[in-house]
Amino acid sequence: MPLLELERATVRFGGRAVLDAVDLEVAEHEVVCVLGPSGSGKSTLLRVVAGLQPLDSGQVSLDGHDQARVPAHQRGVGLMFQDHQLFPQRDVGGNVAFGIRMRGEGKGQQAQRVSELLELVGLPGAARRAVAGLSGGEQQRVALARALAPRPRLLMLDEPLGQLDRSLRERLVVELRELFGRLGTTVLAVTHDQGEAFALADRVVVMRDGRIAQSGTPLDVWQRPADEFVARFLGFDNVVPATVEGSVAVTPWGKLPVARNAPQGQRTLLVRPAGVRLVAADAGLPCTVTARTFQGTHVTVHLQPQDGPRLAAACALREAPEAGDTVGVEFDAAETVVLD
């Protein structure tokens, strides 16, 4: 039995379905990350599970029990808010202890659990500090400790690292991953950042307009995006309509090789940047280099073919042509995916 189960969960705001018949299961100890652009309904999903947003139809179950009549404060789930929502008039310890206090535990137990948790999130001895004086990263840690303190059966995170700067985010995502593994916490997180989702989750759920567009392991989703929307949302731009016959796809870029067992007929084709190989100008598809952007490990070369939409190619810094150069392009079947 899954810990959390949503069945055809639907929420409408003024006639528009923000959640549209969503089915989702989260097993115990699983870390699931919901990924989607803003407005895709992912925050509403969390609010529905927390009991802060009533369903228009459908059902939310925790441990197999329908939660329709259970108010938020009795659901036993934790929610870390997007901008943390620490209580400004309490110090760090008062914030972390809040959930334990609501369960009526004694002062001694509270103090012990608070110091335990602050230790866990890397802020030992911070209990007396005022929340106003905390940095963004520290606030995030306190919010996490506060959410974990009452030992929720399900921990939900709303854009957990959204407002932090990049290096801090990358460090914290690793810490979170380790922490959840160690504690065996069941986690349902939402984010719009694919890197965060892939680093954090056992399973990624991509949402679009209140519906689930794809669900799978990070590797699955990355390798085989379900459709053009998912592919573009993951940052792939080389997406074109194609007609597949056998191992050849007819596209605006010409005939491209695809895997022999690829689905046939009218399809959408994705070529990863690594699959766009630059060759001599007189071979392959002739293109003009419009720009090159440095990505750290490689260079992305932006190409304008004579016909057809633009292409992005990944290549090593040494081999990258200059803007304005004319190059030829060949396509690698191993990096080409026929979608749906």
């Binding site: 927390a50 404060h73 036993g76 929610l79 901008d83 809040f98 609501m102 009452p150």
Partner: protein, 532 residues
């Protein structure tokens, strides 16, 4: 929500309905023609005309005098600014009776100007106008200055960079942003002066009479309750119209403006112009706001503490009890009225602050403001004719006075609490709920700590308002239990220097109590953007 609605139904809607019935119904039939009859009388037409033009003149004069001060408070930084702000605010919570007496002491018979130059203004309209400016100066300074101090000066700088002259930038950028606040303040002042009672009652003499004073005169001197009721209806309609326009300007003022912390926008005065402006404002405050109360205190001390000592004697003439006992009465009433106003206003504000509050509830918001605008005299008169017979006969009950005062105090409580309650982030409450706090715990753990100060401030306002309340109380206070303002008015209506001096002394006491209440508030107050 149910409690405030019931309170307003019984103590406001019903009395108003009773007034309407009293005025327009005779022998079981509606006589709408009576409005035309009453308004057609030449002396009533004169009253209507005077009420309107003196309100217009007072409003214009107040804006003229107070707008420079709004600028000075918003944009200039100078030592003693906080003290000055408090000084400017005190007059607004001073009881109208005190203001009237103070101006009487300044410009009236044997007043300061009379002594110095033989000038008396108490029989002219100028005394009324000046007293109105005194009273409403703070409304303009607080409403306009509060917003002005939060307008981002960089907006003007951006306009300058785009080629606007300093004056052009002010006219194109700042003025449009301020205009709704100026309009709202002007309407507030118009409303307050349109329904002015205590000031006109004391300074107007037999010549000048506003609608409010006329209603009171018809009731207590001519005993023509029907005419009084009709006049109340006329006033009710006029005030309702003003309030609708006011609500509309307030909504426009809430339109998206980029606001910044007020501390960041004020600067030391630079150049002769700004220094002259600051000096002018200080001089105006000294002459217009500080001088009248100072003269009042001095007059009350003519011949030492004799008048104060006389307050302790029941001379049997003016009162059934010693005037000093009115202090105790007033304090007792004020405590009860404050408690009632806090409960009713607090519940109403909590209901109004809910984000899912529907149109109906928001309409109630406007309704709550009615007693403030509709004027105390309406409330008092309504109580007088509605609550004196079964099913609810409170005529003999002391609770009647605090109830009327609470009704007038509730809008202040709501106005003070509402912005603070609205500012509590809904997601903080949600965070608490998810952590296991029941709705009641959420209120106690999240809301209460954040609104505690506002609650104190609201209590202080309600207390000051009910202490100084005159218009409603004068209808319903029993002769053996007068409140401070009622006692002052009664003393003034009697001839003789002793009575006059005692009125000054009692006024001084009232003024000191109110000023102390306000100064305590001012220390508690951090947010200066409110309307009061």
């Amino acid at each position: 929500m149910a409690v405030p609605v019931a309170f307003f139904a019984v103590f406001f809607a019903w009395p108003v309905a009773a007034i309407v019935a009293r005025g327009l119904k005779a022998d079981g039939r509606w006589r709408l023609g009576r409005i035309a009859d009453v308004v057609g009388q030449s002396d009533i037409r004169h009253v209507l005309w005077f009420t309107t033009w003196q309100a217009l003149a007072s409003t214009a004069l107040t804006l003229l005098v107070a707008l420079p001060a709004a600028y000075v408070f918003a944009r200039l930084d100078f030592p003693g600014k906080n003290v000055l702000r408090a000084v400017v605010t005190v007059p607004f919570v001073l009881p109208t009776v005190v203001v009237g007496t103070a101006f009487l002491a300044l410009v009236g018979r044997g007043g300061l100007l009379d002594e110095l130059w033989g000038v008396r203004l108490d029989t002219t309209v100028w005394a009324i106008l000046l007293a109105h400016v005194f009273f409403n100066y703070a409304v303009v300074v607080r409403t306009v200055g509060g917003l002005w101090s939060q307008l981002d000066p960089r907006q003007e700088e951006a306009a300058r960079m785009l080629g606007a002259s300093p004056l052009g930038a002010w006219r194109k950028v700042t003025l449009p942003a301020l205009a709704p606040a100026v309009a709202a303040a002007a309407l507030m002042v118009f409303l307050f002066t349109f329904t002015s009672f205590g000031v006109v009652q004391i300074l107007g003499g037999p010549t000048f009479s506003t609608l409010e004073v006329e209603i009171y005169r018809q009731t207590s001197e001519i005993f023509d309750l029907t005419t009084a009721a009709v006049l109340t209806i006329v006033q009710f309609v006029a005030v309702g119209a003003i309030l609708v326009v006011h609500a509309w300007t307030v909504r426009r003022r809430e339109s998206a403006l980029r606001l910044v912390a007020p501390e960041t926008t004020a600067r030391r005065p630079r150049g002769a112009g700004q220094w002259a402006l600051l000096g002018g404002v200080l001089a105006t405050v000294a002459v217009l706001l500080v001088l009248p109360p100072a003269v009042l205190v001095r007059r009350s001390l003519d011949g030492g503490f004799g008048y104060y000592r006389a307050l302790g004697d029941a001379d049997g003439g003016t009162f059934l009890v010693a005037p000093i006992e009115s202090v105790v009465n007033s304090l007792q009433y004020a405590v009860v009225a404050t408690a009632v106003a806090l409960v009713i206003g607090g519940l109403a504000a909590a209901a109004l602050a809910r984000r899912d509050a529907g149109r109906l509830v928001r309409g109630f918001d406007a309704l709550l403001m009615l007693p403030l605008g509709v004027s105390a005299v309406t409330v008092g008169f309504g109580f007088l004719i509605a609550l004196d017979k079964p099913p609810l006969d409170l005529r003999q009950s002391w609770i009647l006075v605090p109830l009327a005062q609470a009704l007038v105090g509730v809008p202040f409580v709501v106005r003070t609490m509402l912005p603070v309650l609205r500012a509590v982030d809904e997601r903080l409450r949600e965070a608490a709920a998810v952590l296991g706090a029941s709705p009641w715990r959420v209120w106690r753990e999240v809301d209460l700590p954040m609104v505690r100060r506002a609650l104190l401030i609201a209590a202080g306002f309600a207390f000051a308002v009910s202490l100084g309340e005159f218009g409603a109380t004068v209808f319903i206070a029993r002769p053996d239990n007068p409140t401070l303002p009622v006692a002052v008015a009664r003393l003034l209506s009697r001839p003789g220097d002793l009575n006059y001096g005692q009125a000054m002394a009692l006024s001084t006491i009232l003024m000191v109590v109110c000023a102390v209440a306000l100064l305590v508030l001012e220390r508690l107050r951090t947010d200066r953007t409110g309307e009061f």
